[in-house]
């Protein structure tokens, strides 16, 4: 009492809410549901975003260069390659020639794409054998194609009249790689009749600045006097990433929007509850005003009630959402604790703040109405 006596509005609000516990609980439940929908949907967005970013991480450090539309040679020339290598000193530059062919074995033909490359280890991971850092002889073949043809390590594969011994089997490509069909990887010398390179891949260390590299190359090759002279087409995974994160942000916003609808509904419920309870207590508020309680004091008392409802509902809602968040992150990313990181935990804070804010806002009209009624009218009941 002695502590609460310092905060009469709090004391009165607390006692008033205690008078009709079922109504208080139901009003708070509306807020709980609202907060849960905001926080859970927000956290779901964060979990999906995190998961998508993690999957993209494997190609996030690559810049791919292909001949541009204004390239006269329809390929990356030796001179251009040398220039690129001079520009990019802090990352691996892997030039490639590509073609396609049929690989035959046991009377079966399988169409595969052919890549000529020296630094095979930079681009490929093998499930058997090796991906040598300097591929001078031999070949690598997609695991799936090898199985289809019954080929094993050490077996010969023919390309352009030459035989290459299989040194490694490639892991199946992830979903962002060249899709469909298998891939045959040969030494660059195997495609020596092609003068120019079809693509150059620049691989930075993890977390390297692919965008800066792409900008440097773009400035060097694509700005000969005119802006649109595209000698080389430059592509970084950052482009996909920004596209995907843009989409993810839209998705998160949309989910939040859906969540907020339920909180809006909840605040309308609070508005209704507060309005009803002030109408019911009309005479009582008239007595308060008659005995000299100021309008501002009545207003504060009722706003405090609304704030209590919001805080109560917001807290319970945030706790329940946290539990849902653990489940969601456990399922989507395999790391339940990820929910505690700010990108998702912030939705708990937002949900709570939104709940308190919406409740106080909903209390504003009933409080104003109750405080400004003439005491004579109010006393009449």
């Amino acid at each position: 009492m002695s502590v609460l006596a310092r905060f009469p509005s709090v004391l009165m609000a607390w006692r008033n809410l205690g008078r009709n516990r079922v109504r208080t609980a139901l009003a708070a439940l509306g807020i709980v549901i609202g907060v849960m929908s905001i926080a859970s949907l927000g956290m779901a967005g964060a979990a999906i975003n995190q998961q998508a970013t993690a999957q993209l991480g494997t190609i996030a450090n690559e810049v791919t260069i292909t001949p541009g539309e204004d390239n006269p040679d329809d390929g990356v020339t030796e001179e251009q390659l040398a220039e690129i290598e001079a520009l990019v000193t802090d990352a691996a530059v892997v030039e490639q020639k590509t073609n396609d062919t049929e690989v035959s074995s046991r009377g079966q033909d399988v169409h595969v794409s052919v890549t000529g490359v020296t630094e095979a280890n930079e681009l490929y991971t093998v499930s058997a054998g090796e991906a040598p850092p300097r591929l001078q002889s031999g070949a690598l073949l997609s695991n799936t194609t090898a199985q289809e043809l019954g080929l094993e390590l050490g077996d010969p594969v023919e390309y352009d009249g030459q035989l290459y011994r299989l040194r490694g089997l490639l892991e199946s490509e992830n979903s962002f790689g060249p899709s469909g069909g298998g891939e045959l990887v040969l030494p660059l010398s195997a495609l020596s009749e092609q003068d120019h390179y079809d693509s150059v891949t620049i691989i930075t260390a993890d977390g390297g600045d692919t965008a800066a590299i792409a900008d440097r190359i773009d400035a060097e090759f694509n700005s000969y006097g005119r802006n649109d002279d595209v000698q080389l087409s430059i592509f970084t995974s950052a482009d996909i990433q920004s596209g995907i994160s843009g989409f993810m942000n839209t998705l998160e916003l949309a989910l939040l929007g859906i969540g907020s609808i339920s909180l809006v509904v909840a605040s309308v419920a609070i508005l209704n509850v507060m309005l009803m309870s002030t109408v019911e207590r009309r005479g009582e508020i008239g007595v308060l005003r008659a005995v000299g309680i100021r309008r501002g004091e009545v207003l504060r008392m009722i706003l405090t009630e609304a704030a209590f409802l919001g805080t109560l509902g917001g807290l319970i809602g945030a706790l329940a959402s946290l539990a849902i968040g653990f489940l969601m992150f456990g399922t989507l990313t395999g790391d339940p604790m990820g929910v505690l990181a700010w990108p998702s935990a912030r939705y708990l804070v937002y949900g709570f703040a939104f709940a308190v804010g919406a409740s106080v806002l909903s209390g504003l009209y009933p409080a104003w109405k109750a405080a400004n009624e003439s005491p004579v009218e109010a006393l009449r009941g």
Partner: protein
């Protein structure tokens, strides 16, 4: 000098096209230590007159003076301050807040004023009306007579000049009503205040120093 005075007070209510004149030029005054009762049939304007004296409403014409000061044209907020410091109210149906204890109900008018602690005065007042052992009871746990005593203690918490009572015995039986009136008379002398009541109850007239009869918005002495 009278503590409260009405001079030629007129109160008109507009209801649609019709104008109702509830008070038609009423003169009235009450002094400290005096118990005045206003009687009259229903519709005579008693409640309107009490609203004027209690600064719950302002007159259409005429002057209301409180302790020699013209308070006719105060704003609602200024009237609230006057009610808080100079007036105490007792109602027919007690109007205690059900979620507060007896002592909290008594403290209610001063509750938001954190500069003074009226807790001890609240206990003192409840002891003086014979409820020293009911401090922590809620209104539900008290009889009608006890509730009205709590209401009287509440009306006196801010050391007012005037106690206004609207049918204070209206919801009580004859005997309880009598003890409540004795209580009010005793406190009136102890606190040196004016008590102004409106009533139908003839018993109240017996306890009064003066009776004012109101008929059709006009005082008939």
């Amino acid at each position: 000098m009278s503590i409260i005075e009405l001079e030629d007070v007129v109160k008109r209510y507009e209801s649609g096209a019709e104008t109702v004149e509830a008070l038609k030029g009423v003169d009235f005054q009450a002094n400290r230590g005096e118990m005045v009762t206003i009687v009259g049939p229903s519709g005579s304007g008693k409640s309107t007159m009490l609203n004027m004296i209690g600064l719950l409403d302002s007159p259409t014409e005429g002057i209301v003076s409180l302790d020699g000061r013209n308070v006719t044209d105060l704003t609602e907020d200024e009237r609230t301050e006057e009610r808080r410091s100079k007036l105490g109210f007792v109602f027919q149906s007690f109007h205690l807040l059900p979620m507060l204890t007896a002592v909290e109900n008594v403290e209610l008018p001063s509750m938001w004023d954190t500069t003074v602690d009226r807790h001890n005065r609240a206990i003192d007042l409840l002891e003086r009306v014979g409820l020293g052992d009911r401090l922590q009871h809620t209104p539900k746990q008290l009889s009608g007579g006890q509730q009205q005593r709590v209401a009287i203690a509440r009306a006196l918490i801010n050391e007012p000049d005037i106690l206004l009572a609207d049918e204070p015995t209206g919801n009580l039986d004859q005997e309880t009503g009598g003890t409540i009136l004795e209580e009010m008379q005793r406190l009136k002398d102890e606190e040196n205040i004016a008590v102004v009541s409106i009533t139908h109850d003839e018993q109240l007239e017996q306890f009064s120093d003066r009776v004012v009869r109101l008929v059709d918005g006009v005082v008939r002495s």
